[in-house]
């Protein structure tokens, strides 16, 4: 079997699952990845801007992290290490997209995005907590609609068709719910005492 970065590459999902359960190294990697996966995803999304591209970046990042995991200094900050790699993978992803005539943020702006995101990590985490609270305030139907729209991997038109509504109507509702949540977060953070 080919060795990648001195570690065993997984050949199948079953093999992966078994490996994660049996090998201490792999199990440790999975734990670390699970703990910081969402943050890595957010890092990727902040650079590439769309969920599909972020998914591609995350997949590529996982490969790189796994290949370099034996270089990772245990006891140091996995999140910081993983996010740094995610940013690099994402920036390279955007550069490739730009070369294929697709638009994307310039390198200098990407660098500033990384700076801001790193600097405001705690604030972002706070905003997330507030957002989760705001979500609880939505009606079940609105929450379901919102989550469905975010989970929908197909296009908005397809989601609209499944909803039995026009795309404009669906997008209008989605925009409205986002505004509600954004205002809620803003309000909560502005008032402060609710927290």
């Amino acid at each position: 079997m080919e060795m990648v970065g001195g570690m065993t590459p997984f050949q199948s999902k079953l093999e992966l699952t078994v490996a994660m359960n049996e090998s201490p190294l792999e199990a440790e990697f999975l734990r670390q990845l699970a703990a910081h996966y969402r943050n890595m995803y957010a890092c990727a999304l902040s650079i590439v801007g769309t969920p599909n591209d972020a998914n591609d970046v995350i997949q590529e990042t996982c490969v790189v992290l796994w290949q370099k995991y034996d270089e990772f200094n245990r006891g140091t900050n996995f999140r910081k290490w993983a996010c740094a790699i995610t940013f690099n993978v994402a920036k390279n992803f955007v550069r490739r997209q730009r070369r294929h005539c697709r638009t994307g943020l310039s390198d200098d702006l990407l660098a500033r995005v990384v700076q801001v995101r790193t600097a405001e990590a705690e604030l972002l985490e706070l905003r997330r907590e507030v957002l989760r609270e705001c979500l609880e305030k939505l009606s079940q139907a609105d929450r379901t609609f919102l989550f469905d729209s975010y989970q929908e991997s197909a296009s908005l038109a397809e989601f609209s068709r499944r909803q039995g509504r026009t795309a404009a109507a669906v997008y209008s509702k989605l925009t409205r719910l986002r505004q509600i949540l954004a205002r809620c977060v803003h309000r909560q953070l502005e008032s402060g005492e609710d927290w």
Binding site: P9, F10, Q11, S12, K13, L16, T17, M20, L30, R31, L33, A34, A35, Y37, R38, Y41, A42, L45, S46, G49, T50, P51, N52, N55, I58, Q59, E60, C62, V63, W66, T103, G104, L105, S106, L109, R112, V113, V116, R117, E120, L124, R127, R128, L131, R132, L135, L146, F147, D148, Y150, Q151, S155, L156, Y171, L174, T175, R178, L181, A182, V185
Partner: protein, 443 residues
């Protein structure tokens, strides 16, 4: 875009569009412009995308471990796809290499089929030679499975360890290095000890050489005649299926006639006359090169303008004489005395274009025996005409038959087996002749 929006709200709006894949290039440009102008817009960009990220997380009800595992599974799937792609690329590459290798090997194979290996070369041709297959030339390579068909004339083919004379009309096919098929006509094989096992096949006979000089003649009417002049040959009588049914061992000066229809093989009287055409044409010549030819029929006259050879030189085997007394002749480099008891074969080199030619011929004759003397002077030629000249042949008596050594070139190789010529042409008389005396030695 709504003009009432603040820059940060506009960025949020543009980020939403980007997240929903609804933004266009101008939207990206506008967003970048706002982000460059105002740090708050940059913050708004980051916060809005993080907002969407959290909504994505919340909409996904799986645990973090499950999400990470899913990401890793996707990674595995991606790797598998990449490996599959690499596998197919490697497969395609291997297929391409294999195809190229196959094509290459096929080319070699078919080129071997189309251009079979050489089995021999044309060593001598008579002047009257005709070929119904392809024009034959001295030195031409004879290949495996090649058929040579001669309506008339004599061609000598040098095979490994043997000389094969084909006397037209004849058709012969080279089946292997040491095996030929005779469809019709006469062939004479002189086989050296290393060539033992050489086989001539006719429809009814397979003649296997056991170290000898033998002749095979086949006609559809008479069947196969096998004659052994020296050594031993084995004649296997074949039935219609080609299976040997009878074996005849023929020793020197014995002959047999085989008929397939009656499946009979009977010994018949031996006659040296069968060998005469080849002996007359080639004698003890091992090889000719250049523009030299042998003769199939003995000419009546070798005098000037009697045997015109515009494009080639002739080499005419003459008498074979066992000297009863020492013979002294004027050779190229002075007098030569050949002791009594020596068997000497004479070869007359003849060139008579009768007119100026653009290119005077060059050529060489290689003999089995050693060249004892090379007579180039008119006096020496005339002095040996009677001794070595064939019966009934008349010779030129005038002096111009001799070589003019200032324009004609003739030399003997160091091993004294080969004599090479270049005969110049100068009017008014064009005839050039030389006589080569060879101490007879045949394989």
């Amino acid at each position: 875009m709504n003009e009432k929006l603040s820059p940060t709200a506009e960025v949020q709006r543009l980020v939403d569009l980007m997240f929903d894949c609804q933004i266009d290039a101008s939207g990206i440009d506008r967003m970048q412009s706002l982000m460059r102008q105002d740090h708050r817009c940059l913050q708004a960009y980051v916060q809005r995308l993080d907002f969407h990220s959290e909504l994505l997380d919340q909409s996904d009800h799986k645990s973090a471990e499950a999400t990470a595992l899913n990401a890793l599974q996707q990674m595995v799937a991606t790797n598998a796809k990449r490996e599959s792609r690499q596998y197919w690329q490697a497969t395609l590459l291997l297929t391409a290499c294999a195809t190229m290798l196959f094509v290459g090997l096929s080319w070699i194979y078919y080129s071997t089929i189309l251009v079979p290996p050489a089995v021999g070369t044309i060593a001598s041709l008579s002047t009257n030679l005709q070929s119904s297959t392809e024009p034959l030339e001295l030195g031409q390579i004879v290949r495996l499975r090649q058929t040579i068909s001669l309506p008339q004339g004599i061609a000598t083919i040098q095979l490994p360890h043997l000389m094969l004379d084909v006397v037209g009309p004849a058709s012969i096919r080279f089946e292997r290095n040491n095996r030929v098929s005779l469809a019709f006509g006469t062939i004479l094989a002189k086989v050296q000890p290393e060539g033992i096992g050489f086989t001539v096949k006719t429809p009814e006979t397979e003649v296997v050489d056991l170290g000898t000089e033998f002749l095979v003649e086949h006609t559809s009417e008479q069947g196969t005649y096998v004659s052994v002049r020296r050594g031993v040959a084995q004649a296997n009588v074949l039935d219609r299926r080609g299976i040997p049914t009878k074996v005849l061992d023929l020793t020197a000066s014995r002959a047999a006639q085989i008929h397939q229809s009656s499946q009979t093989a009977k010994e018949v009287s031996y006659s040296a006359e069968h060998y005469r055409p080849v002996d007359q044409s080639r004698g003890g010549i091992r090889r000719l090169t250049g523009t030299l030819r042998t003769v199939a029929e003995v000419p009546q006259s070798m005098a000037s303008e009697q045997l015109v050879t515009p494009n080639h030189m002739l080499v005419l085997p003459e008498k074979q004489v066992i000297l009863t007394s020492p013979l002294t002749v004027e050779s190229l480099n002075g007098p030569v005395t050949i002791p009594a008891g020596t068997t000497v074969r004479s070869y007359l080199i003849h060139y008579d274009p009768t007119a100026l030619v653009l290119f005077a011929p060059r050529g060489a004759v290689t003999y089995w025996g050693n060249i004892a003397a090379l007579i180039v002077k008119s006096s020496g030629l005339s002095a040996t005409d009677d001794l070595f000249g064939l019966p009934g042949v008349t010779f030129e008596t005038r002096e111009f038959r001799q070589l003019e050594l200032d324009e004609d070139e003739i030399q003997i190789s160091d091993d004294r087996k080969t004599v090479s010529f270049f005969f110049g042409v100068s009017p008014p008389e064009f005839l050039d002749q030389a006589r080569v005396l060879v101490i007879e030695e045949s394989p």
